[in-house]
């Protein structure tokens, strides 16, 4: 499972910065045109998907149980905000901390396995969390935790105003996104890439690969938790849907559709899927069928995802994504090599 759009460890090309600036400007203006609650949901899911993609695209581990971190943080934040009366920033911090701790425990146990085993193990752990949330008194079971107060950020900023809340969520998203970008474009990110491409070689070079993988797992879990905590405050609600394994499946789909291993892919995928679900909310169970159809289609024919397909045209030849290793089109590879030899610096 490997598809990378930009080389980790090197500084991102100018085009990426320009696009990022443009998108941020768009995001800042968006709530005046679109329904803010919808946008906030999309942002939370985007952060969740990015956190998931960190593990899948850059470490090569498919976790099918990421909803455990998302949902647990959601519950913890909801509970601390409502029952303990914590201000929003503290409630979110506590949620993230618990998600990270959970990430450490699950990661430690799951890292021992690879590939499919890893996926199944994470899925089963997530299910354990689900049943725990179902039974535990503080989560409210099927009722969930309702009427979570948004409170005053740092004691002064009233988050009940939709526009204010939106900018807060946007800031949280950009922070989380920034952490991921920073992690990838760093020596840490380079080691991760090395591990993904050839773990035995990385070990032979002296890297404690287990530790790197675990660290990436915890980071991914913490950021997924950040997304969940924020979501709890947006909807003022924490429920079993957040820890359900179908939520884990959705984030996989978002990343797959958007482009595994691309920076913006999960964001695109998240926005797309949230929009689709919004549109089709009246259509009942067809949403599930359509999501399944997209999954199948993507796996069969569209593995690079949207960003994977569009990136070369948008960002210039420099950043052509590698298609997933198994399906290398030989001709294109040759052409690529020639082009790169013909002279691009970098």
């Amino acid at each position: 499972m490997s598809a990378v759009s930009l080389e980790p460890g090197k500084t991102a090309p100018v085009a990426v910065w320009m696009w990022t600036a443009g998108l941020i400007a768009l995001a800042a203006a968006a709530p005046f045109f679109l329904y803010p609650v919808f946008l906030m949901k999309a942002l939370c899911m985007a952060l969740f998907a990015c956190a998931f993609n960190l593990l899948l695209g850059y470490v090569g581990l498919l976790s099918f149980g990421h909803a455990a971190f998302f949902g647990t943080a959601s519950y913890i934040t909801a509970y601390t905000a409502k029952v303990w009366g914590l201000p929003p920033e503290l409630a979110i911090l506590v949620g993230v901390a618990v998600a990270a701790a959970l990430g450490f425990v699950f990661g430690y146990l799951a890292i021992r396995r690879q590939g499919i085993y890893f996926a199944m193990v994470t899925l089963a752990f997530a299910q354990m969390v689900f049943f725990f949330c179902l039974q535990a008194k503080f989560t409210g079971g099927e009722d969930g935790i309702q009427a979570v107060p948004r409170g005053y950020l740092f004691g002064i900023i009233d988050l009940n105003h939709p526009l204010v809340m939106y900018y807060f969520v946007l800031a949280v998203f950009l922070f989380g996104f920034g952490v991921i970008v920073r992690a990838i474009y760093s020596p840490f990110g380079q080691v991760l890439k090395a591990i993904r491409e050839n773990e035995p070689r990385a070990i032979s070079l002296g890297y404690r690969t287990e530790q790197y993988k675990l660290l990436a797992f915890i980071l991914s879990a913490a950021l997924a938790g950040l997304a969940g905590s924020t979501k709890a405050l947006v909807f003022q609600f924490a429920s079993l849907t957040d820890v359900d394994w179908t939520m884990s499946g959705e984030v996989v789909l978002m990343t797959l559709v958007g482009g595994i291993g691309t920076i913006l892919g999960p964001v695109v995928g998240a926005f797309l899927l949230t929009t689709m679900e919004n549109y089709l909310a009246q259509a009942g169970s067809w949403v599930t069928t359509i999501e399944g159809g997209i999954f199948v289609l993507c796996v069969l024919t569209f593995r690079e995802g949207i960003v994977g397909v569009i990136a070369p045209y948008v960002m210039g030849r420099r950043a052509r994504p590698e298609p997933p290793a198994e399906e290398v089109q030989v001709e294109e590879h040759e052409v690529e090599k020639l082009r790169q030899a013909a002279g691009e610096g970098d």
Partner: protein, 298 residues
């Protein structure tokens, strides 16, 4: 408060009764994890669609009864064949295309298929169960003293034991099974011997799917025919397979029944934990023996 009573002194009748109910659940876990283990062990495919195919088996039995007037006993044979054929279709058309790719794509593809199937049925039939009556020959219950054991549930335990043992026998002790096992290890060599490996792969997938459908038919009278029945049970089955060892047929059978019993036991002492206990055991097994109880190290 009542829980303390349970922990201190479980009434013996309740104890045995819950164990028996657990054994019945275990029968389904065993049959389903058997199909999964066969498909994975021999074909290296994670068949996430397994739960949906279990559901298809139950629905097939329901359709046969309500549209064609075909009762339970013939459905036990017909439904698995029908669903098995759809399985063959899936393998031929879809799975074969991604066989060269990372196995995780197989997981995602079958996951997507499961969503499609479940979505369609949920749209048509809602998400509460449709009734399927117990066949008249198996209605009624036997008073065992400590509980009334419905005859149908007794039949389920016996039948699934039989099916599991028969499958294990075919794979481990017959020539056909030997070919299958050889084909997994070294398909090119086996092909060189003139054995049609792709066809065996297809038929094996169809066979595993048929097993799931058979479990579905047997579940229909007990668990109500519902589009959600597959997704409810699939993850537990995955956990069972991980515990038993991903490639081990015997491990799957033993773990299935064993975990059903443990679940029943938990219901006596600490009912709220009964749904989590299987995953806790899985975590423990992973710590101690990562390949599963009977698995071969990957």
């Amino acid at each position: 408060m009542f829980e303390w009573l349970h922990i201190a002194v479980p009434p013996a009748p309740l104890f045995f009764a819950q164990l028996l109910v657990g054994l019945i659940n275990g029968a389904f876990y065993a049959m389903l994890s058997l199909g999964l283990a066969v498909i994975f062990g021999l074909l290296n495919i994670i068949n996430f669609t397994h739960g949906a195919q279990y559901m298809l088996g139950a629905f097939c039995a329901w359709f046969l009864l309500n549209w064609a007037g075909i009762g339970y006993w013939p459905s036990l044979v017909i439904a698995p064949i029908i669903v098995g054929i759809t399985g063959i279709g899936i393998e031929r058309l879809l799975l074969r295309r991604i066989a060269r790719l990372d196995h995780l794509y197989g997981l995602l593809l079958t996951f997507g298929l499961a969503l499609i199937i479940e979505g369609i049925f949920r749209q048509q039939y809602g998400s509460s169960g449709l009734p399927y009556t117990i066949p008249p020959e198996l209605q009624g219950a036997r008073n065992l003293g400590f509980m009334f054991l419905p005859n149908y549930r007794a039949w389920v335990v016996v039948a699934s034991l039989g099916v599991c043992l028969a499958t294990w026998f075919v794979i481990e002790r017959t020539r056909l099974g030997a070919y299958l096992r050889a084909a997994t290890e070294n398909p090119i060599l086996v092909r060189a011997f003139g054995i049609d490996v792709p066809r065996m792969v297809t038929l094996t997938y169809g066979g595993g799917v048929a097993l799931a459908a058979l479990a579905g038919v047997m579940a229909a009278p007990i668990y109500q025919v519902s589009p959600l029945m597959g997704s409810n049970i699939i993850i537990v089955v995955f956990a069972v397979v991980v515990i038993g060892g991903m490639g081990s047929i015997f491990g799957a059978i033993l773990s299935g029944f064993g975990l059903g019993l443990i679940e029943g036991l938990t219901k006596v002492f600490y009912p709220e934990a009964s749904s989590t206990v299987i995953f806790v055991i899985m975590a423990l097994v992973l710590l101690v023996k990562p390949a599963g109880l009977f698995g071969r190290t990957a």
